[in-house]
């Protein structure tokens, strides 16, 4: 199966350059629905679902390959190569910021710029480094996910919630957002929250923009500054947006920051 089918790749827009949007743990390419369209006039936009999320091919899930973020980085490289693109702008949210970094180290020619939205090279505290969580808390998270399949059933097939205020969601409400297979999501959570990519940051040579939210418990501001300090050609922008998903809560702010950078 091609990477394009496997990862449910959607290409839109027109332009010389391509912008690839990568979603993080917990959702699918819908994460970018309020951001990506703003770039369709000037870029070819590429959206995809990580294996296990959205409409990706669940059969392609290989627990060994996806036990670490490098398995996801391989997929990202394959997608861009299959589309015959190079010099793309990669916009990676959350864990996909690190996945993007890994892909850029392995295949630098595919990327001309990296936009990291809420990146974290390590979620677990380690000596002077404050990732935001203790090892026990992450272990507790993994146990919670393993023990709590009902917590996922909602995510897999969210009930349709009538929302007359937002007709633009119209038909699409019959499709569920952020579908995820519980067993795969547990594996992805483990790969994400136990990762440590601090050593990879200084190796990055691609120019990089870091978008840091206020009041983000998943990737706190200190972590964003750490990433900024360790990537040579990086720029840090602090967003007004709160929480971990500015692409949904403050798309306009994200769009203008990215436009200013590219």
């Amino acid at each position: 199966m091609s990477a394009i089918d496997r990862n449910n790749v959607r290409v839109k827009g027109a332009g010389e350059r391509a912008m690839v949007f990568a979603h993080g743990f917990g959702c699918d390419q819908n994460m970018w629905r309020h951001v990506a369209p703003a770039f369709e006039a000037t870029f070819r936009t590429v959206l995809f679902d990580n294996v296990g999320a959205g409409n990706s091919d669940l059969g392609a899930y290989d627990p060994g390959k996806y036990a670490s973020l490098s398995g996801y980085a391989e997929d990202l490289i394959e997608i861009i190569r299959e589309l015959d693109m190079s010099g793309t702008v990669l916009v990676g949210h959350s864990v996909s910021a690190m996945i993007g970094i890994l892909a850029s180290l392995r295949a630098p020619e595919l990327f001309s710029a990296l936009v990291l939205v809420g990146p974290s090279p390590r979620y677990i505290d380690d000596g002077d480094y404050h990732g935001g969580f203790t090892a026990d808390q992450i272990e507790e998270l993994l146990e919670f996910l393993a023990e709590n399949p009902m917590a996922w059933s909602q995510a897999m097939a969210p009930a349709i919630i009538g929302n007359p205020d937002r007709p633009e969601l119209g038909e699409e409400l019959t499709e569920s957002f952020c579908r995820t297979d519980p067993a795969i999501a547990l594996g992805f959570a483990r790969a994400t929250f136990t990762s440590d990519n601090r050593d990879d940051l200084p190796k990055v040579t691609t120019r990089t923009l870091i978008l840091q939210c206020s009041d983000d418990i998943i990737a706190p501001e200190a972590v964003g500054r750490y990433v900024h300090d360790h990537i040579a050609h990086s720029e840090l922008v602090l967003l007004q947006a709160t929480g971990h998903c500015p692409n949904l809560s403050a798309p306009a702010e994200v769009i203008s920051a990215v436009q200013a950078f590219v």
């Binding site: 993080g24 743990f25 917990g26 959702c27 819908n30 994460m31 629905r33 959350s94 969580f133 808390q137 507790e140 998270l141 146990e143 919670f144 996910l145 023990e147 709590n148 399949p149 009902m150 917590a151 059933s153 909602q154 995510a155 969210p158 009930a159 349709i160 919630i161 929302n163 205020d165 937002r166 969601l169 409400l173 957002f177 952020c178 995820t180 929250f193 418990i217 998943i218 709160t242 929480g243 971990h244 998903c245 949904l248 809560s249």
Partner: protein, 366 residues
């Protein structure tokens, strides 16, 4: 007591049988009902200004921020999300959460309304179910491994039993070549009959083990005439029981593709059963005919019908009806016959009533 509508609504909010939390668009709590603050042991005033995530355990917080905060934004709400709320006493309150955004005409979020329902019993039940599922899966896996081992053992045993049997056959032949008393010849006849019977039992066991081990019953199909194969089976069985009458009615003029040995085995099992279980005073009837694309073969006998309860398990291995001690077998005959039918793409069926018991084998033919 009459309540003014406003009081009644106030009460419905504060003392509802579920927890209510209302937040501003930014997710900060602006109102909490008495039920919820009572559950978690924090005064309502102390909760104002906090975020929903501040009330959750750390895993719940990560899970909420990565999975459900996006969902709330994307679809304007979510339902039946299982989370744990931290209580003032340091404990966990398992809850199910529904949430919905309230938006103005322009689409801007005005507030988020969140409802909590306690789910402690349900959660522990689910956890218990998961544990049981894990145990059941493991024991099924163990059971499968054991039964595969057992079947491999049967296959090896069956194979190894053939060698001593071959020695006995050889020895009997050797003795026959020499001058023997009448009594010794009778004993040799009995010995050889016993050897045949035992060889048949071993074949059944081997077929069964092969079928179970996944290779199924292998076929060696050739194109040829069916009738001579059937007549041979009838002749052998008649010779064994000369007092019984077997009435045959065969009409299969054109050659068909089948495994002659296997079909003979199937027929022999069916006719053998009919002779064993049928009314000895009545004939056993055999029929074979074709319609376009289909072969039909049946064996019928009169006598006591097969009990209703036995019908369902008839084709399962090691199933035996009520038999006299002299008719002991392994209970594999019908199972193997039905496997042979399946291997030919066909099916073996049974009908049994006061009039007759009839086993019908049908298979597709080119």
């Amino acid at each position: 007591m009459d309540l003014a509508p406003a009081d009644d609504f106030q009460d419905l909010f504060e003392d509802a049988p579920c927890g209510y939390v209302i937040t501003d668009p930014d997710g900060r709590i602006v109102r909490v009902n008495a039920t919820f603050s009572g559950w978690i042991g924090f005064a309502a005033e102390g909760l104002l200004g906090k975020r929903l995530r501040d009330l959750l355990t750390v895993p719940g917080r990560i899970f909420y921020e990565t999975n459900f905060a996006p969902l709330l934004r994307l679809q304007g709400g979510f339902e039946e999300v299982a989370l744990d709320v931290s209580t003032a006493g340091g404990g966990k309150l398992p809850v199910l959460v529904n949430a919905r955004e309230r938006r103005d005409a322009a689409g801007a979020v005005l507030a988020i309304r969140i409802v909590f329902v306690r789910a402690g019993d349900r959660r522990s039940y689910e956890r218990d179910l998961l544990g049981r599922e894990a145990v059941a899966t493991q024991s099924l896996r163990d059971e499968k491994a054991t039964s595969e081992l057992r079947e491999q053992f049967i296959a090896v045993l069956g194979h190894d039993l053939r060698n001593p049997l071959a020695s006995i056959v050889g020895a009997a032949r050797l003795l026959r070549r020499e001058l023997q008393s009448d009594k010794a010849l009778r004993v040799l006849d009995l010995m050889e009959a016993s050897v045949d019977r035992m060889a048949g039992l071993i074949d059944d066991v081997m077929d069964f083990a092969r079928g179970r081990l996944g290779s199924g019953i292998g076929l060696n199909r050739t194109v040829g005439h069916l009738e001579p194969v059937l007549r041979q089976v009838v002749a052998e069985l008649e010779a064994g029981q000369p007092s019984r009458v077997i009435v045959s009615d065969f009409d299969v003029p054109a050659p068909i593709s089948f495994d002659a040995g296997r079909i003979a085995q199937l027929m022999s099992n069916l006719v053998g059963n009919a002779l064993t279980y049928g009314d000895p005073k009545q004939p056993v009837r055999l029929h074979a005919s074709t319609t376009p694309g289909r072969l039909e073969l049946w064996v019928a006998n009169a006598g006591e019908p097969i009990p209703e309860a036995a019908m369902e398990r008839l084709f399962q291995p090691f199933f035996r009806g009520d038999v006299r001690p002299s008719q002991q077998g392994l209970g594999l005959g019908l199972h193997i016959a039905s496997e042979i039918a399946k291997a030919h793409g066909g099916v073996l069926q049974v009908r049994s009533d006061r009039t007759e018991t009839r086993f019908t084998f049908t298979m597709p033919i080119a």
